[in-house]
């Protein structure tokens, strides 16, 4: 009994002395500002700033390598706090959100075959270019959902990705994972978008999608400064987003949508959602 107390106690004492010595001797100097910045950052480690996680960004900020406006999830509030800690001026940038440029769900866009494979857009795209006839529409198999660290993307019951504009932080992680490049970043302030990604001619688009842009130019004729039509696809010029509203009702295929009114097809965001990630295997 006594031997055990003595031996374990002495091991404990030796280790405590060694640890205490090491803590003093090998202490790493951390800039207190770095810790303070880490406190205010959202800790999502999304990588949108271009640095390896929030700690990497904090280090870069203290080193003066980067302006404090590089954290989209944190937005203006965090940028201001960081600027206060560092004592620098913050240059505000327009916050962005991701937009799925497609409304062609399983009701509105035609499929070329029944897809029963892996629930993943990249895998589906490798099989004969994906089940949709449209070469650039949303496949709705949720690869972007899994890429989103903020739970801002969901798939509707009819198989279309929709992005919650309140939850989206603009980090852009969903953009590169989409095999059809259907997600674009756009300024949060502009609520009007042409929700189509197909560059096919109008006659083809009509064959496979009820809500695709057919390149008819009516929007451009209605508000010339607010729309651009390039290779049969209209786009909103976001600087003139407010004027663009005038053309929403004119679009013959209803592919121009105003998000201030709600989400595509009039559904609320909480519309029936299918489970995306199957837990099989």
């Amino acid at each position: 009994m006594l031997a055990a107390i003595l031996s374990l106690g002495s091991i404990g004492l030796t280790a405590a002395v060694a640890l205490g010595f090491a803590a003093k001797k090998f202490a790493v100097e951390v800039d207190p500002r770095e810790l303070a910045i880490l406190e205010v950052l959202p800790s999502a480690n999304c990588g949108a700033c271009g640095y390896p996680g929030c700690a990497g960004y904090a280090k870069a900020l203290v080193a003066g390598k980067v302006n404090p406006n590089q954290c989209p999830p944190g937005g203006a509030e965090v940028a201001e706090k960081i600027a206060n800690i560092l004592g620098v001026e913050v240059i505000f940038t327009e916050p962005e959100v991701a937009v799925v440029m497609c409304q062609g769900d399983n009701q509105k866009a035609r499929n070329k075959f029944r897809y029963l494979g892996l629930i993943d857009c990249i895998a589906a795209q490798k099989l004969a270019g994906g089940p949709k006839v449209c070469p650039s529409g949303c496949l709705g198999l949720g690869t972007c959902v899994r890429a989103c660290l903020f739970g801002a993307i969901e798939i509707t019951a009819e198989g279309l990705a929709v992005i919650n504009r309140e939850k989206c932080t603009g980090c852009g992680q969903c953009v590169p994972v989409c095999p059809r490049q259907v997600i674009h970043m756009a300024p949060l302030s502009s609520a009007v978008h042409v929700l189509c990604n197909s560059h096919d001619k109008g006659a083809y688009v009509r064959k496979y999608c009820q809500v695709g842009c057919i390149g008819c130019q009516i929007c451009k004729k209605t508000v010339p400064e607010a729309y651009q039509v390039e290779s049969f696809l209209a786009k909103v010029v976001y600087e003139h987003s407010e004027e663009a509203v005038a053309a929403v009702a004119k679009c013959p295929t209803h592919c121009i949508r105003d998000f201030t009114e709600g989400y595509p097809d009039g559904s609320t965001f909480a519309a029936s959602i299918v489970p995306v990630k199957s837990d099989a295997a």
């Binding site: 070329k112 075959f113 029944r114 029963l116 494979g117 892996l118 629930i119 993943d120 990249i122 895998a123 490798k126 099989l127 004969a128 270019g129 199957s278 837990d279 099989a280 295997a281």
Partner: protein, 404 residues
């Protein structure tokens, strides 16, 4: 005529719209070593060089030929005498004739026949196994065109002097075994009857069944001194060398419950699938699934307007009631896929890692050794798309290796 008809770099079109071509004329030139030229299947006029529907499902570059009905051979196709040729000249002739693996994998034949000098080839195996259920094209070829096959073996024996040749045939084709044994009496070709099982037509499995040797992981048959060729490929080699004819024809099985009359057809490569259906008395009902190749590894087609290619060993038309349309369920860890895997992999483990985007682990579990035979998906009671998942893992792993 699609320009991508083989594994490796697709050919590039070497004709222009308006050109008149003869049967057997080169219309697509080979690009690189692992590539072969493409030949016109009949005489006629080139009407387009553009992307057209392809069996892969995506439009791919193709040369569109309108037949003139004369079926006139191009000039300059001369038969050669294999007895007087060098092995290198024979291999060059095989390459120029566009010979690829006719079992369906379409790997250029000249590449297999050109091992690096340090690898000594001592065994030639002819694959008469018939790669997949439903297909009978190789069976009929062995019975009806034995001469071409034996000529082809003689050509390959010229390329590799002193090689041991063996033909592997499954025991469910006793007529083909008896016929070939009778023809090979006293010769130096062994006819080896094999147990009936799938996937024995895959070369690594066939080598093990015939020689007992196993190809190492990541290795090739040439590493253990073996070359495997399909009987159809060997017959095409005979045509190319002995008769000087390029590869423009093949035997294709058209079958399935949705077709009126199942047949083995000798087809001109490039014919649309719809012509094959017409030649077999049309469809009984609208097919639920159109498969080019066999049921296990074939590629499902969206419509019948795609052309046949050099690898079209079969066309299978299934009805709604023949197709399992089951939604994917959870893995119940029954390990049937593990028992079924001929490459001794753990399909469900690889698939699980793939779903988690953990491709390093998938590679450690030897995802790249998968031969995509389809046994795991077929055996899975939960209808998990295992092969598709593993294929996805393979392509991602290879893409990451290429990008470094």
């Amino acid at each position: 005529m699609p320009l991508a008809q083989h594994i490796g770099a697709p050919a590039s079109a070497c004709v222009e719209v308006g050109d008149k071509v003869g049967r057997g004329q080169v219309i697509g030139a080979a690009k690189g070593f692992v590539s072969v030229p493409i030949h016109a299947p009949t005489s006629g006029e080139i009407v387009a060089v553009e992307a057209r529907p392809h069996p892969s499902g995506n439009p791919l570059p193709a040369v569109v030929l309108r037949a003139d009905g004369e079926d006139r051979w191009v000039d300059g196709l001369e038969p050669l005498d294999p007895a007087t040729l060098d092995p290198d000249d024979i291999i060059e002739q095989i390459r120029l004739s566009g010979i690829v693996g006719m079992g369906g994998a379409t790997f250029p034949a000249h590449v297999k026949l050109s091992p690096p000098p340090e690898k000594k080839i001592n065994t030639l195996i002819l694959n008469g196994v018939e790669c997949e259920p439903y297909l009978t094209a190789d069976h009929r070829l062995m019975l009806e065109e034995t001469d071409r096959i034996l000529e082809g073996i003689a050509v390959l024996q010229r390329v590799f002097p002193g090689i041991n040749a063996a033909i592997g045939i499954e025991a469910n084709k006793p007529d083909a075994i008896a016929h070939l044994q009778a023809r090979c009496v006293g010769g130096d070709v062994d006819v080896v009857p094999l147990e009936v099982k799938y996937p024995q037509g895959a070369e690594k499995q066939l080598i093990k069944a015939i020689t007992g040797r196993e190809v190492p992981s990541g290795g090739l048959p040439m590493d253990i001194g073996v070359v495997v060729q399909n009987v159809g490929t060997v017959a095409a080699i005979a045509d190319a060398v002995v008769r000087g004819l390029p590869l423009i024809e093949r035997v294709c099985t058209v079958t399935g419950p949705a077709i009126n009359e199942s047949k083995n057809l000798r087809i001109r490569i490039g014919m649309p699938l719809s012509h094959l259906v017409d030649a077999c008395g049309g469809l009984k009902e609208d097919p639920a699934k159109i498969i080019m190749g066999g049921p296990m590894m074939g590629t499902t087609q969206i419509a019948l307007d795609v052309p046949t290619t050099r690898g079209t060993s079969g066309l299978l038309l299934l009805r709604e009631q023949d197709v399992v349309l089951q939604a994917e369920g959870p893995c119940i860890r029954c390990a049937r896929c593990v028992q079924a895997c001929p490459a001794y992999l753990l399909p469900t483990t690889i698939a699980a890692y793939t779903r988690l985007d953990r491709f390093e682990e998938a590679e450690q579990y030897r995802a790249l050794d998968c031969i995509e035979c389809g046994c795991c998906s077929y055996s899975c009671p939960s209808a998990i798309p295992l092969v598709q998942t593993i294929r996805f893992a393979k392509s991602t792993i290879l893409a990451r290796k290429r990008s470094g």
